[in-house]
Symmetry: C2
Subunit: 394 residues, 2 copies
């Protein structure tokens, strides 16, 4: 019998990389519910629920708040192709891989891209963005990543939003990794467009990209002179589908079952409690890693709790360590992207996975694997430092 005709029996992994994180068991159950039609009254109610809960998680009252039917990059592309027209200027802050991707997509949408390149591992500085803005006659949008998945850096946004608005530009932000893990106040901070993904701190499988669009973004959409280049991502059509239930595309029903359950879990816990939980376990992880003599990559004070980046020590082989963690402990952690491939590890504690148990399990496994690779590691000391940090923060 061909292998593909056999039952698929994957190993149960603990996903502590940059995402997907493990989905909550209740979310997995929701995925297995029998399907509904995409115009079924029960499903239309579910769409309302999802929209309302997304608003709460984005901390916004935006009418146009909906999940795009694709993964994170689909949300990014949907946001950009709806806001940009050929010839528009966009200033993009690039302090990691995903900032670079924003620039690429904007360029393919025919925009003039002013990429403000910034050191990886550091947050975007308002002065740098200001410089990018100042040279331009008319800027349609300023875009950047809130929590860079490639570096584990969190860029504080309010000052940057002010800058964009001073130049009468839309402020667009990638919250793929930040949403549901750290504070993100769309309305209070004045963010015009925000896009995220289901598989990180929302603890759902990948396949949906929650987005929200404010009044200025809608005005930009309404005053377009050219059609949106993508029909699949056309917000005018999506708006009609989500608001007037007129057919646009067949929504990924089961993924929406999952997202509803994932959002319900977020709201049951409460945003504040959820952010505090991510912060607490991240602090324990960082304490543990430093006690092992490992160097953290992201600048202190700007570390993303849900994603910690570690410099791979000299002489330690990236692939061997990650391979052993996967094979012997069923733990996945991520490697570096771009020029940091082989030089960084990325450790995610996202959503359902942000627990003290996972911190201790990871550190104890990592200690053993590093020792095995010949790296001089004070066995048990990472675990102990994390335990002390956890005990202090009960």
């Amino acid at each position: 019998m061909q292998d593909y005709l056999r039952e698929f029996k994957p190993a149960g992994r603990l996903l502590l990389g940059p995402g997907p994180a493990n989905a909550h068991p209740r979310v997995l159950q929701a995925m297995a519910m029998p399907l509904l039609g995409h115009l079924d009254p029960d499903f239309l109610r579910l769409m309302d629920d999802v929209r309302e809960m997304l608003r709460q998680v984005f901390q916004t009252g935006n009418g146009l708040t909906l999940p795009i039917s694709g993964t994170g990059t689909a949300g990014m592309e949907a946001a950009l192709v709806n806001m940009l027209e050929p010839g528009d200027t966009i200033v993009v802050g690039v302090n990691g891989f995903f900032g670079g991707r924003i620039a690429q997509i904007a360029e393919r949408a025919g925009a003039k891209v002013v990429a403000v390149e910034h050191q990886w591992g550091r947050p975007l500085a308002p002065e740098a963005i200001k410089k990018g803005l100042d040279g331009q006659r008319k800027v349609k949008a300023v875009a950047m990543v809130h929590g860079e998945t490639s570096t584990g850096v969190l860029t504080p946004l309010p000052e940057l939003v002010r800058l964009a608005h001073e130049h009468d530009a839309l402020f667009m932000v990638d919250a793929v990794t930040s949403l549901g893990g750290v504070d993100l106040r769309v309305d209070e901070w004045g963010i015009d467009v925000c896009f995220s993904a289901s598989q990180k701190c929302l603890a759902c499988p990948p396949g949906l990209a929650p987005t929200t669009f404010g009044a200025r973004a809608l005005a930009a959409l309404d005053s377009r002179k050219t059609p949106v280049q993508s029909l699949y991502f056309d917000l005018n059509m999506l708006r009609t589908y989500w608001h007037q239930r007129s057919y646009h595309h067949t929504a990924p029903i089961s993924m929406l079952f999952a997202l509803r359950e994932g959002l319900r879990l977020v709201l049951e816990e409460g945003l504040e409690a959820r952010f505090a939980r991510h912060k607490r376990v991240a602090a324990a992880l960082c304490a543990g890693l430093e006690a092992l003599g490992l160097e953290l990559f992201a600048q202190e004070g700007y570390r993303l709790p849900q994603l910690t980046t570690v410099v791979i020590p000299d002489g330690v082989k990236d692939a061997d360590v990650r391979g052993a963690l996967l094979r012997d402990y069923n733990i996945e952690i991520g490697g570096g992207l771009g020029e940091y491939a082989g030089r960084l590890w990325r450790i995610g504690l996202m959503g359902h996975n942000a627990t003290p148990a996972n911190v201790l399990y990871l550190l104890s496994s990592l200690e053993e694997v590093l020792a095995r690779q010949g790296f001089e590691v004070p066995l048990g000391q990472g675990v102990a430092a994390a335990q002390r940090a956890l005990a202090r923060s009960v």
Copy 2:
């Protein structure tokens, strides 16, 4: 407590509309499997399995055969934006809603669209496409829908493929509703690009769009002078992700678990047996509907077995009948699209749902509902005609 904070408990529906169809129970189980990372060795093996099984279902040896991470329209858009460059001419056969959508997407990709409008309910005639082709200097592609979901019509393709190739144009086909339900021979018929969806005859949830690209399509891709306007749908990047496992986007893991299981079910049954099953139950359904005095919409000889269209009789209210079927029998059937809204019913018997039991259950429910609406219906006669058809075809 807010309604959205309560558990979601949808009614169990029998989905006999134009799709999604009910997913097979084994597929739903697969959706609930714990996640894997998108670069996990187990997941990479799964990608190989999916690719190999998709090739068998498409009846092709095409190297580039992969599911696009979105629903059916995403597959259509991916196919078009990769093949077309601004200024290219495409001839589109339009004999229903989805042919019209091909034309719209092609136009947004900057192509010059020659739409060959054809009567809804009839297959596309080679002469009509020939006329569309003859006036053009250079045609990049000819595109159309194999099984029109809006009308229930199946267009025979081989002659049309020959026409396209005589004009040195690519032949692109929408097999959203046809794949897995009727014969579709990508290689034997010479189809260059084919796209489909997971939620029809493959009996999976919506969320993936299987596609396949032949040698001529790859040559067109390789000789592009402009970048593909979409990064999310960029086949060059997707090819690298699927073949060399270099990161492009986070695949919708659970949906791929589901698709693997759905494809396994197709191959376990065998393509021939699956096509015969769809044909058998459709014949019984048609016999039953005609015995009730209902008129079928699609031209005889060109009816799509998996989707039967019925003319709503004078005096019968579309919404009342569909509402009663849904409310009292938990059966969903579809209404008409575009100018046929309120004038047609669309009854799907797709994938897992193409069973004698569903035919008899639908007919018996429909008879009761029609009688209740005051339509003079010979009670029991639709069921009886279907039973006879089924008995004859055992």
